[in-house]
Symmetry: C2
């Protein structure tokens, strides 16, 4: 009950009859420590329940093994999984995630300061944007920054190829001979949305097709449902519609059903993201699946390599694009194809 002092390396050293340096070296895995000494230290440590203090180590070694992860609370249902993947993958690499949240409409500057105060070894920013000044500040403190699923010219970025994904959906629509084509966009000025749109519309134009309907949502199920309601209450007749997120696409499909329309017979629907719900039987949504594991692994490998190279600050920032995967499901299949499988 009494505040018995925390056990430190000094205590272990005394008990094991060695110097504090030796205890430190033992736990650092220094191979110069004689095996017998090592054993003795470890056994004493175990006995008294000693574990090294990472905070002290951080101060002294100037490296915390902490990685800051900044996430916006996005409505898209993709990011919770991303966060979980990062936490898990970091753990495997002996690092740990210090997680920060920013409002999806704000930028990450507010919290970046705090992140740096914790002396994180690196910073991963997902689903929000950063100012150039903040990037500067990170550089000053030798903290490499990685943008996840967003690109910025002066920052290392890793991102699914939204543009290419949009093109793939366009190709699919043309291949399926849909003629009256609509599009449900995400939040207008997000990079993600712009890229998905410009890929989709650009490729459509190359095929000589122009969309005949256009509405805007905010990536959420709710906005998709609302868009669907007004679409199906109108006299617009579409063969197919591309939605900038899976959640919106599912909302729109539910609205279709509630309005007595059948997917894909009355209207084909495609989304983007590849969230688990998209593959549920009731939805079976055609979509571009984000290569989540590759994105996460790519980010962390890149980070590791950067941290290991002493001259990383001299290297120009790069943007890495990873292709998504077209998942063709029943929401765009023609009836015959369904029968065929």
């Amino acid at each position: 009950m009494a505040d018995q002092k925390r056990i430190t390396s000094v205590d272990v050293a005394r008990l094991a009859g060695v110097s504090q340096s030796t205890v430190s070296r033992t736990f650092a895995g220094d191979t110069r420590v004689k095996p017998e000494t090592r054993e003795r230290v470890l056994s004493v440590a175990k006995e008294v329940g000693y574990v090294p203090n990472f905070i002290a180590r951080g101060l002294s070694a100037q490296t915390t093994n902490l990685v800051g992860i900044v996430m916006a609370d996005v409505a898209s249902m993709f990011y919770p999984y991303v966060l979980q993947e990062f936490v898990r993958a970091l753990q495997k690499r002996g690092k740990h995630a210090l997680v920060f949240n920013v409002r999806s409409d704000g930028n990450a500057d507010d919290v970046l300061q705090e992140t740096l105060q914790y002396q994180v070894d690196a910073l991963i920013i997902a689903a929000s944007t950063v100012s150039d000044e903040m990037v500067e500040a990170c550089a000053r403190t030798d903290t490499p920054v990685f943008l996840f699923n967003r690109t910025l010219p002066h920052v290392n970025s890793i991102c699914v190829d939204n543009y290419q994904g949009g093109r793939q959906i366009a190709d699919l629509f043309v291949r399926n001979e849909y003629e009256n084509i609509g599009v449900l966009t995400g939040i207008e000025d997000t990079q993600t949305n712009q890229q998905r749109q410009s890929g989709f519309l650009g490729r459509l134009a190359e095929h000589g097709v122009a969309p005949s309907y256009r509405a805007q949502g905010d990536y959420t199920y709710k906005s998709g449902y609302a868009a669907g309601r007004s679409l199906f209450n109108s006299d617009v007749a579409l063969d197919a519609i591309f939605c900038a997120s899976d959640a919106m696409a599912i909302g729109l499909m539910d609205a279709a059903r509630d309005a007595g329309r059948t997917v894909p017979e009355d209207i084909a629907v495609a989304g983007f993201d590849g969230i688990p719900v998209a593959d549920w039987a009731a939805n079976s949504l055609t979509t571009i699946e984000q290569p989540m594991d590759a994105l996460v692994k790519g980010t962390l490998d890149w980070m590791d390599k950067t941290l290991a190279s002493p001259d990383w600050k001299t290297q120009p920032p790069r943007v890495k694009l990873l292709p998504g995967t077209l998942m063709q499901r029943r929401s765009t299949s023609l009836p015959e194809i369904i029968v065929a499988e």
Copy 2:
């Protein structure tokens, strides 16, 4: 480019013509610092871009403002939201989340060690279990532990009232005059599952009803769909079924649709959790909604109070149960009721 030394409080002190102590006090918000001095320090700090080093502060002040959050990667879709809420709420309180992941079938011991090494001020364990020894270890290092949505006799726990929730569903079923009642359980030996089951079955028994069907899933959509398939392929005819998670309930409903059954006319379905997808139009699932905000806030308020009270270790651990909310939706409504609304 060159490794210009990090700016420390000593630099600021020199530039501002005060002692390092004064700089420290200024940033600690010490009211004894003369306003003019304070201004000067802050302006110099701003000019040179100084911010306090939290790691050093942590070592010195023996408090890191770090809270460890241990999460299992549960299939239930409830926890990603919980994590996001914790991160956000902690940030508001000037604390930060160090997030750890454990396999859902393991216990938290493996990572707890690491958590303690980071000298977290407190530990929140969600969706996994801990050994008594580990709880001991936490006590030794003065780290209060809170179990989230799980209870253990020797640990502070905060949890939705699973038992009561099960009873509410039973009452609803009886009220709706369902006679042939089934149950789809979660993973057999999880506490959550046991409590939901015993509440449900116990209350049913009090009404003189015994379930006529029972299957087991693992909380996932997939397992719910599979259970539904085999149920609807059998000659069992049920009026209603209670599933131990929303994801399973939705899977089962999708299987029902695919088998040509109508919900709730052919079979009524209820779940547990209150995940956002449950409220989507296509599902409209009756469920017990977890009081997520109250659970998170309750945990953090409790944590704050504990950290503020010097004698917290002498207080016996408590278990706090919060009631869930019955959300009656179309998956259990009788046809007439639907018409009525």
